[in-house]
């Protein structure tokens, strides 16, 4: 047993009672990061982490600052001052930012210790964890390296699942935190859009982008939101809505909470092990006094989530990444004209997958096509959000399996027009469409691989999400899960 395998709350207790020092934690985290073989890191920050840890050990541990001395990892799409930040793309090789992202600043101000920058799907565009410039990131539950972590926050997911750190920053545009959380058995949270400042997060599609994060417990997740959701003037979309004390208020009392299970999504999941466990969890929730109903939605509308998401995100992405032209930062391969400089830099800097997304995005924004593609996707987005808001009029939360299966294998083909793919595998983006708070947490294990459930609620109703999650931990017994913890197996 090592303190690094504990949750933030537990580590904080150990630091307070001097059972462990920040330096011991940091050294162990760095050691584990170096030993990890899942290709999860862009950069491991031995020197600065050790320096900071040494300094912190000279200070008293503040009782109410749970992040003091906690080693953490950030997705390499968060701007870190003086530390190379590439977004796992060649176009930003060697780019050293001049500023810290707001969430990095909050964590550093709280004296958390940044020990590494984590890999991602190139510029956060992708859901497989395979497209970053450093190659494939692997699932730590599978030593044979056949299973995906998923993405785009692949390295951040590995960092916590492999027990390197108890907390990592990711970002979630479609399901980039909540899907990997399913695949590696973590609590993956993205709160209401606008609650956490996005300043310094490399944008993929700002209307959908959320700062998200991984923890090993619901309690830690609520704790992290307290720190990260502080109002920030640098992000004009950062809400003025009142913040709660999520950590203090989280409660497993869910008596009378009304929970909806979307029938069309749920019934498209064919895996009997997952379905059985999910049904048992519903019975558990009912046993705790929650009202759980099967609610029907328009399947055609639900099946447009993914295509609408794809059009909108690609369209916004082509514009957001237009700043990457080799002129101001990132590798400049020269050229006789400014067009040549841009062409050379973008040709060499982006992988073919990214270029494909840019072409799709650009195509759907062109004035000849905008009406049929981009604006129609926006219209679909509104209809989808309206439909979910109807559900939220009667229910506190929507509860579903986070994915139709455990982490897929790299060579596995999926039928992209099947209900399983369109409904069950890609529905989580509805949370981004509506900016709804949404959290995935581990539910069980099948063949040694974890799988999870997702809880989504109305904007600013994070408390419902955390409360239901906290109650479920009593059912799953997977609080604190990482690869070093013993777990059961579902049949």
């Amino acid at each position: 047993m090592n303190y690094l395998d504990k949750t933030i709350v537990e580590i904080h207790e150990a630091l307070l009672s001097k059972k462990v020092s920040v330096l011991e934690l940091t050294k162990e985290a760095l050691k584990r990061a170096h030993e990890n073989s899942d290709n999860a890191f862009e950069l491991i920050l031995d020197e600065s982490a050790i320096k900071k840890a040494t300094e912190l050990d000279k200070l008293p541990v503040p009782k109410d600052n749970y992040f003091f001395g906690i080693p953490y990892v950030a997705k390499d799409s968060f701007s870190t001052k003086g530390i190379e930040t590439t977004g796992s793309s060649n176009i930003l090789n060697g780019y050293i930012p001049l500023f810290d992202a707001t969430v990095i600043k909050y964590l550093n101000d709280a004296n958390a210790v940044l020990i590494a920058k984590a890999t991602l799907d190139e510029l956060a565009m992708g859901g497989t964890g395979t497209t970053g410039h450093k190659g494939i990131t692997y699932n730590p539950y599978d030593a044979s390296h056949e299973h995906m972590v998923g993405g785009s926050s692949c390295g951040s997911a590995v960092s916590v699942a492999a027990g390197v750190v108890p907390f990592s920053l990711g970002s979630d545009t479609g399901d980039s935190v909540r899907k990997p959380a399913n695949n590696v058995g973590l609590v993956g949270m993205k709160p209401t859009w606008g609650l956490i400042s996005r300043y310094g997060l490399f944008p993929f599609a700002p209307s959908l982008d959320h700062v998200g994060y991984f923890t090993k417990s619901v309690e830690d997740s609520a704790l992290a939101l307290n720190l990260l959701s502080k109002r920030d003037d640098n992000d004009a979309t950062n809400t003025y809505h009142k913040r709660d004390d999520y950590f203090k208020e989280v409660s497993k009392d869910i008596k009378g909470k009304k929970i909806a299970v979307i029938k069309e999504i749920s019934t498209s999941i064919k895996d009997p092990v997952l379905a059985k466990k999910f049904d048992e969890s519903i019975e558990f929730l009912k046993g705790k006094g929650a009202v759980v109903d099967m609610v029907s939605m328009d399947a055609t509308l639900l099946s447009t989530i993914y295509p609408a998401y794809f059009i909108i995100s690609c369209a916004e992405a082509t514009s957001n990444n237009a700043n990457l032209d080799g002129i101001k930062f990132g590798p400049n391969y020269g050229g006789n004209t400014y067009q040549e400089v841009m062409y050379n830099s973008r040709t060499r800097g982006f992988s073919p997958l990214i270029k494909r997304r840019f072409v799709i995005g650009s195509y759907s924004l062109m004035s000849d096509n905008q009406h049929d593609l981009f604006l129609r996707a926006q219209k679909a987005r509104h209809m989808i959000v309206d439909a979910f808001n109807e559900v939220f009029k009667k229910y506190d939360a929507i509860y579903l399996l986070a994915a139709p299966k455990t982490a897929p294998k790299f060579n596995e083909a999926s039928d992209k027009l099947s209900d399983t793919y369109l409904l069950a595998d890609n529905y989580l983006a509805f949370g981004n469409f509506g900016g709804f708070p949404s959290m995935t947490l581990p539910l069980g294990f099948k063949d040694g691989m974890p799988f999870g459930v997702n809880i989504t609620s109305k904007p600013f109703d994070e408390k419902d999400v955390f409360d239901i999650g906290l109650a479920l931990e009593d059912f799953t017994n997977l609080k604190g899960l990482d690869i070093n913890m013993k777990h059961g197996e579902d049949k």
Partner: protein, 474 residues
Amino acid sequence: MNFEAVIGLETHIETNTKSKMFSSAPNLAEQEPNTEVALLDMAFPGTMPRVNKEAVRKALRIAHALHMTIDDTLYFERKNYFYSDLPKGYQITQQFRPIGRNGYVEIEVGGKIKKIRIERIHMEEDTCKQLHFSSYSLLDYNRAGVPLIEIVTMPDIRTGEEARKYVEKLREIVTFADVSDGKMENGSMRCDTNISIRPYGVDKLGTKVEVKNLNSIVDIEKALDYEIKRQSESLLMGIPVIQETRRFDEGKKETVTMRIKTDAVDYKYFTEPNIAPIKLSKEFIEDAINTCPELYDQKLARFTKNYGIELTDIKILLSDKNLADYFDECAKFSKHYQSIANFMISNVLSILNKENKNITEFKVEPKYINELVELLENKEINSSQGKKIFESVVKENKSPLIFKKELGATLINDESTILDIIKEVIKENPSLPADFKAGKTRAQGFVMGQVMKKTQGKANPGVANKLIVEELKK
């Protein structure tokens, strides 16, 4: 000429806010290159825009001055294109919901008032400044993100003169509203023009030509007049006008082809997702408008009413807002408004013209001008002394009272002293009273000359003249 020109203008105004449109960098584009740059201005990944409240206030003032319908919710769009002077790869602008729609300005042409309708005004941001050399180009990010207001007319303008008057009026509005210095020569006001011609009586528009690179208001008139002539001659010779962008060659005073219009760029406009729509409260809009500095017409009315000076003089003072402000300052200390106006027009302006300076570069405190005018009004000094003292005041920016003492410039006002001198002169020239009575007015002038000679010009001429006539009559 059998053709009528149809002209529309797009004018960009650089707003004189403290900081840029969407970043906190100082709005000081003229400083040392690349010293006034925030992270957003260079489009570093993860930076985000924040709307400059003051820029919105200024845009509201212009919208109001142009009689526009104001949109009380701010929306911004991205205009996407790749260019070396565009750091983000898109410009944040207001494509679909401009802050102001459907306004007008009135200009005076040939003694008649003409309405020029304004289609829209919107806020956006400026690009980098580019400096091109033979084998390389330099980029200055100081200008990237400077707030711009774009003002687009309906095609209501018919002649170069009307275009000039329109731009003059616009400059007057933006300078009086303290929104911009309105200088075309340094790019704080930039004009693009669209012009086509058609036979009189025909509704259908001719082929549109865009004329750019107009660096002064005079050039706008010249370029458009040239274009009207060029296009008319072309059509009369049976050569169709081609759609193109031309620029004005200042040296040759003619327009030359810049590029032939091919397919227009597709800017792929879409909503700026990093700025949620901003609802402007009624109070905010009203406050912006009510706190707008006095515009030309208001100032004209006030100068006429409060100062009662000649209309021609008022128009001279109001030709430059800063000049009018200076006059207001002087007028605070005095009631001799017309004298101050006269002094400013004949003395202050002539110095500035000679030195090719602007009133803002005139360092003399207004109260000193007032003191000088008072001395002249009270006949404590004469006009030639006034000139000398003014020169010193301009040089050292000190009170004219100091120089008056230094020059010994005091007038002798005491009647008995002056009378003694007059008597002395008559005594020396005893025939004078008789000459005077015989109708030789020259005698009067002679005595005055002698009195001035004896007093080194210090005798109060008014007092002296009265006494001389009295003495000669005796």
